[in-house]
């Protein structure tokens, strides 16, 4: 069957466009988070690195060939002028479409026109894109209009045609600015960019490499469409471009190495490791091999080797831009960004869309050397019939979209699942101030200590993620059940036993006429007069007649902040010592000596462990 290559290629392109479209829907619905792999550390990813940087670079062919033909009057390159200008136009459109995906607020892109910041390289890039896209449209419009018989369109055609040279010159001016300002963009990132790439001459390097890239882009494209439409290769023309490109590439290499030497980082090239190796691969790929192939006449004039050289220059210079735009930042930032398949698909989908437009124009207008690729060519019988092509395209589009939707992560479709996430390190620190009852009075909570006490795999879940509505963590009282209860530290039975001899009950219940309750009994401190250590940081707020210890809350609220404030400047109360119980309760708590209630026994009694320390016991 005829034109099999074309059919297959177009089907794949339609599927890619469909997939990109499906992802686009979710990108705008759910935001960038679920549909990309971008992070706070790496806010620019593949869409900038490939679509924007690459798209602009590929468009370089447009102004190069326009300059060749119109300014330098090298008329024999006219046959590749139109495809080059169209590629530039489509490249720039791809940049704009790519940006629409990447910008957080793409509907606000017009802000660039209204709000100015001329200090920003991105401001310049934005304006150049807008203006140059317009210029390219005007430059290319005659190709479309010349087919029209309508008098108005014909008039427009003639006006545009008269202004070709000024438009071309304007295009060259904008392009040279824009190609270089894409490099200026990274001048403000010395902290991110590896010194092998970061240089004040980034804009110059970008411009020079764009020239080589543009020449080779035109070459690649001519070879590819000739292959696709099974036409003759215009080798004679192309090898001429190759010769110029070789010169530019060697010049670029000299600039690049000279700059490294001038900044004294040239020796680092051989240091090994990620950065230097990336650099070597890039130089080999983008300059050394293709420039050699293009310099030797034998390889330059053969289709295969020319194609290899052209392909390597194009991909190599896009590689250079991707390095500057991201890869050369990996080491300094330690980012672990890897483009998600969704990002890749959108990018390739945009390229695919541009390619389809290119084919369509090639098939219907005087784009290529031989005029329209379809009209009146009897070797393309089936494609003049519109419907089967449309149906094939639509089927592929829908399949692509369906496949992409099926593969999308849940988050992109349902939004972010917040409940079933794995548990991360606490959002607060080791020690935090908790304000459980939201009364603006915090208590100091030692998170790390609690995390250390509670062991096991599910230790975090012990307090967190107990699925309490609106709550992130379990309240303290969940474990410390007596938190808000004054806790009795008085053991009546023990006292009964110990005081059986002597005055017995009357030891405490002195007045037999009164009821025998706490209120009418002797205060503990009468016997245990040193129960509160002299240097205690925490003094009871109530009378010293205690029978009840204060609840945790009172105790804790009184503890940290008050003393920190009172004792400010005293180095012995610096954090974190003051927070420890032992700062006040020095030593193990020993039981009282029954015979001398004001003294304690020498050793702690067994199974007298303090209550409430082990939340698991509850």
């Amino acid at each position: 069957m005829k034109m099999k290559r074309l059919k297959t290629v177009k089907s794949i392109l339609w599927a890619l466009v469909g997939a990109a479209f499906a992802i686009a829907v979710f990108r705008f619905w759910r935001g960038l988070g679920p549909t990309t792999a971008l992070t706070d550390l790496t806010p620019w990813g593949f869409w900038i690195g490939f679509d924007v940087m690459g798209g602009v670079a590929l468009a370089a062919g447009g102004f190069i060939i326009a300059a060749t033909v119109y300014i330098f009057h090298l008329e024999r390159y006219r046959p590749i002028l139109r495809p080059a200008v169209l590629t530039a136009f489509l490249g720039y459109s791809a940049v704009v479409v790519g940006l629409m995906f990447d910008l957080g607020l793409p509907w606000d892109i017009w802000h660039m026109i209204v709000f100015w910041n001329p200090h920003s390289p991105l401001f310049e890039v934005g304006w150049c894109v807008m203006l140059y896209l317009t210029v390219l449209l005007l430059e290319f419009l005659p190709v479309i209009l010349e087919m029209s018989k309508h008098p108005v369109l014909a008039a427009v055609y003639h006006v545009l045609h008269k202004f070709t040279v000024p438009l071309v010159i304007l295009g060259i001016m904008l392009s040279s600015l824009h190609q270089s300002s894409l490099g200026s963009l990274f001048l403000i990132m010395p902290h991110r960019l590896d010194p092998l790439w970061y240089t004040p001459i980034l804009p110059i390097l970008f411009f020079v490499s764009a020239v080589a890239l543009g020449l080779m882009m035109v070459t690649t494209e001519s070879l590819f469409s000739a292959w696709l439409y099974e036409e003759e290769y215009e080798l004679d023309l192309l090898q001429g471009l190759g010769r110029v490109a070789a010169g530019v590439l060697w010049f670029y290499l000299a600039l690049r190495l000279g700059d490294l030497a001038a900044r004294g980082v040239l020796p680092h090239v051989l240091d090994g490791g990620f950065g230097p190796n990336l650099f070597l691969v890039e130089i080999l790929w983008s300059v050394l091999i293709p420039a050699t192939l293009l310099t030797i006449p034998a390889t330059r004039k053969r289709m295969k080797t020319l194609a290899i050289a052209a392909g390597m220059t194009v991909s190599g210079m896009v590689f250079y831009r991707i390095d500057v735009g991201g890869l050369a930042m990996i080491e300094s930032t330690g980012t672990r960004y890897v483009p998600s398949w969704t990002e890749l698909t959108v990018s390739f989908g945009i390229v695919a869309g541009a390619a389809l437009v290119f084919f369509w124009i090639a098939e219907h207008f005087h784009l290529m050397h031989g005029g329209p690729m379809i009209k009146g060519r009897e070797r393309l019988p089936d494609v003049t019939n519109f419907r089967p092509r449309l149906i094939r395209g639509a089927v592929m589009f829908v399949s692509g979209a369906a496949l992409a939707t099926a593969l999308l992560p849940n988050a992109a479709i349902d939004g972010w699942p917040v409940v079933a996430q794995t548990v991360h390190r606490p959002g607060y620190g080791d020690v935090m101030i908790l304000d459980g009852n939201r009364n603006d009075k915090g208590v100091r909570f030692d998170h790390k200590m609690h995390a250390d006490i509670v062991e096991g795999d599910d230790k975090c879940a012990y307090c967190h993620h107990m699925v309490k509505p609106g709550a992130r963590a379990t309240g303290c009282s969940e474990c410390h059940k007596d938190e808000h209860l004054p806790t009795s530290i008085f053991d009546h039975r023990l006292h009964q036993e110990l005081l059986a001899q002597g005055p017995g009950c009357l030891t405490c219940h002195e007045d037999t006429s009164k009821p025998k309750d706490l209120e009418h009994s002797k205060p503990c401190l009468d016997c245990h007069s040193s129960m509160i250590p002299a240097g205690a940081a925490f003094k009871p707020r109530e009378s010293p007649n205690i029978g009840l210890a204060p609840g945790y809350m009172d105790a804790m609220h009184g503890l940290c902040l008050r003393c920190h404030t009172e004792q400010d400047g005293n180095s012995s109360t610096d954090a974190p010592t003051l927070a420890r119980c032992s700062t006040c309760h020095s030593g193990v708590v020993k039981p009282f000596d029954p015979l001398h209630p004001d003294q304690r026994l020498a050793a702690p009694k067994k199974d007298d462990a303090p209550k409430g320390d082990d939340p698991k016991a509850e």
Binding site: F28, W29, R30, G31, L32, G33, L38, T39, D40, L41, P43, W44, A67, I71, F72, H73, L74, E75, R76, R78, P79, L81, G104, D108, M112, F115, W116, H119, S120, P121, L122, E124, E146, I169, I172, L174, S176, L177, S180, L187, I188, M189, P190, H191, R192, P200, L202, P203, T333, H366, W416, Q421, R425, G427, Y428, G429, G442, R444, D568, D574
Partner: protein
């Protein structure tokens, strides 16, 4: 008001209680941190504009440095970020178009993004400009700090105070005030017993202001633009004239024009007439 404001954080006085984080949250009405994929582990996020980093038993509060010559301000193509006269670097969400160039350019990695939102904005500490500092009230974080580890005041006074502390407590601090000259100075200053590399992102920077690094290239824009135009027009004119002369000479001699530039190969035979 007097001079530009600033914040001084004394690392040796911080007890790591994160009261500042809590106060910032209250002052700016920030939401809950959810364990999203894109967060860095420094604790900052679109809903946490300050955090406390822990290193070797020391606590270092992190927030926007409010650079004197901010990279983010010079980078933003629409001027959504501005350095105010009072010192704070503030953000105008009505201008932002979400390019995230500010995030790429900040040498401290401060600005964060609402990645989960379909209408995302850039988020960072504003030194509580709108609600507080512009009204002469100190920021939430400094107001909330229980130990006075982070304080607010005129940047000049804070520098004097910092140097006084260094002089009064020999051995307690490194003898430099972090932020006095880093990237040409910041409104937020630190006193610390150790190097504060943990506050910066990526390669170590010198004291050159960040915006200056693009300024040379940007100032070359108009001359390059005009120069390129002049150059191209000139070349066009010269070659055009030479070729015209050549054509005339050829016409006089009656010979066909020399086809050095391959006139015959002109592309579109159907429209050769128009193509000129």
């Amino acid at each position: 008001m007097s001079g530009p404001k600033g914040i001084l954080t004394d690392v040796t006085k911080c007890i790591g209680c994160e009261r500042c984080v809590q106060s910032c949250r209250m002052a700016n009405d920030l939401g809950t941190v959810l364990p999203f994929r894109w967060l860095l582990d420094d604790g900052l996020s679109a809903v946490r504009w300050c955090s406390v980093l822990r290193k070797d038993g020391k606590f270092v509060r992190k927030q926007c440095m409010h650079c004197l010559q901010p990279a983010c301000v010079s980078a933003c193509p629409v001027g959504a970020l501005q350095k105010t006269a009072e010192g704070p670097v503030i953000y105008d969400s009505d201008k932002c178009l979400g390019c995230r160039y500010c995030m790429m350019s900040c040498p401290f990695g401060i600005p964060r993004y609402d990645w989960e939102s379909a209408v995302p904005y850039v988020r960072k500490c504003q030194m509580c400009y709108q609600g507080r500092v512009s009204k002469g009230v100190q920021p939430g974080c400094t107001a909330g700090c229980p130990t006075g580890a982070t304080i607010f005041g005129d940047r000049e006074d804070l520098l004097v105070e910092a140097k006084k502390r260094i002089a009064d407590n020999p051995g307690r601090y490194l003898p430099t005030v972090f932020g006095e000259s880093e990237v040409a100075g910041t409104s937020v200053l630190y006193l610390a017993p150790m190097q504060l590399d943990l506050l910066t992102l990526g390669n170590k920077l010198d004291e050159r202001p960040m915006p200056g690094r693009t300024a040379t290239a940007m100032s070359a824009v108009p001359p390059v633009f005009v120069g390129m135009g002049a150059l191209m027009t000139g070349i066009y004119w010269i070659i055009e004239r030479r070729m015209k002369a050549e054509r005339e000479r050829a016409a006089k001699n009656g010979t066909p024009p020399t086809d050095a530039h391959g006139h015959g190969a002109a592309g579109h035979h159907t429209h050769d007439g128009k193509e000129g």
